[in-house]
């Protein structure tokens, strides 16, 4: 599998994803500077977390206009899998690859901690190595992860099975109490309609090694490698 990680000015989880990919792939992903629109053909494109352009104006708004994003959108539309984590998710919503918007957390505070996610489906390239309905532990670290979409949009997401993950409790239950940021229906990640683009606020790349506190993020990268190699 060949993977690219797009680096925007202000990205700060680019190396973290690089490490996670390297661990699962056994080879190096390509790091692509946002001004380089003509990067190699790859099997996977990752948009990392961070504060691209300082999160100024709206998170992800300015990066979504980067030269490289035109190319990313074109390739995503051709079916190349795209994974956007945290700021990467915000960029995906801003360029319209996935529906909705990420607003300021409902308590207005940055939140960094481990929490639980319910895996909604395991039939995508991202989740084959999880079980559907599995409860996994993954950290979040964001200020603007409050997922919003209008009511028709929400209905469509739910009807099409585009919800990828929901914030859950340790016991797997999904309720307001397990919602860290005010997201509608506890949505932590969404797919596009074709299922080849995934945007998610939690950081699977941060829990891929026992010494860092857990490995529940690793199956995502292993799934991608298995599906795309």
């Amino acid at each position: 599998m060949k993977a690219a990680v797009i680096v925007f000015p202000g990205s700060n989880c680019d190396r973290d994803i690089q490490v996670a990919l390297r661990q699962s792939m056994g080879s190096e992903p390509q790091m692509v500077w946002h001004k380089d629109a003509d990067f190699d053909d790859v099997d996977l494109i990752c948009l990392p977390g961070g504060f691209s352009y300082g999160d100024y104006l709206r998170c992800g708004a300015m990066s979504a206009k980067s030269p490289v994003m035109k190319e990313v959108v074109a390739r995503a539309n051709k079916g190349v899998p795209v994974l956007g984590i945290c700021n990467g998710f915000q960029i995906l919503t801003e360029c319209g690859l996935v529906p909705g918007a990420l607003m300021r957390n409902s308590n207005l505070k940055f939140v960094c901690r481990d929490l639980h996610l319910k895996v909604e489906r395991n039939d995508t390239v991202f989740t084959k190595q999880y079980q559907a309905g599995q409860n996994i532990r993954i950290p979040v670290a964001h200020h603007d992860g409050n997922y919003f979409v209008d009511s028709e949009g929400l209905k469509a997401l739910e009807d099409n099975g585009q919800v990828a993950f929901r914030y859950s409790a340790k016991d797997g239950s999904v309720s307001e109490a397990s919602n860290p940021n005010g997201s509608l229906n506890n949505i932590a990640g969404v797919y596009n309609t074709k299922g080849n683009v995934l945007g998610m606020m939690p950081h699977p790349e941060r829990l891929c090694e026992d010494v860092l506190g857990g490995t529940d993020g690793r199956p995502m990268f292993d799934s991608l490698v298995a599906a795309l190699s």
């Binding site: 104006l57 206009k65 919503t93 801003e94 918007a101 300021r104």
Partner: protein
């Protein structure tokens, strides 16, 4: 020419910042605030002097960057 742009959340879009303002004003003892909404206010100083052309350009700026039209409305005031 100066362009003054207001970017506000569409009706029906939850506004966590507005809610927090409402709540905090209440706890500071300011009663009688029925609703608070927070938006952005952007001022641009642009070289264009023709009003019609300026409006066209600034509208394009709003559509392309300054507002996220999925959740936001915008309005533009121009001043020589």
């Amino acid at each position: 020419m100066k362009a003054r742009i207001h970017v506000t959340l569409k009706n029906g879009v939850l506004d966590p910042q507005g809610k927090a303002i409402e709540h905090t004003l209440g706890s500071l003892g300011f009663d009688g605030v029925n609703e608070a909404r927070q938006g952005k206010f952007i001022e641009l100083d642009i070289a264009e002097t023709d009003e019609a052309k300026a409006r066209e350009t600034v509208t394009a700026m709003c559509e392309k960057l300054l507002a996220n039209t999925v959740i936001e409305n915008y309005s533009i005031d121009l001043e020589q």
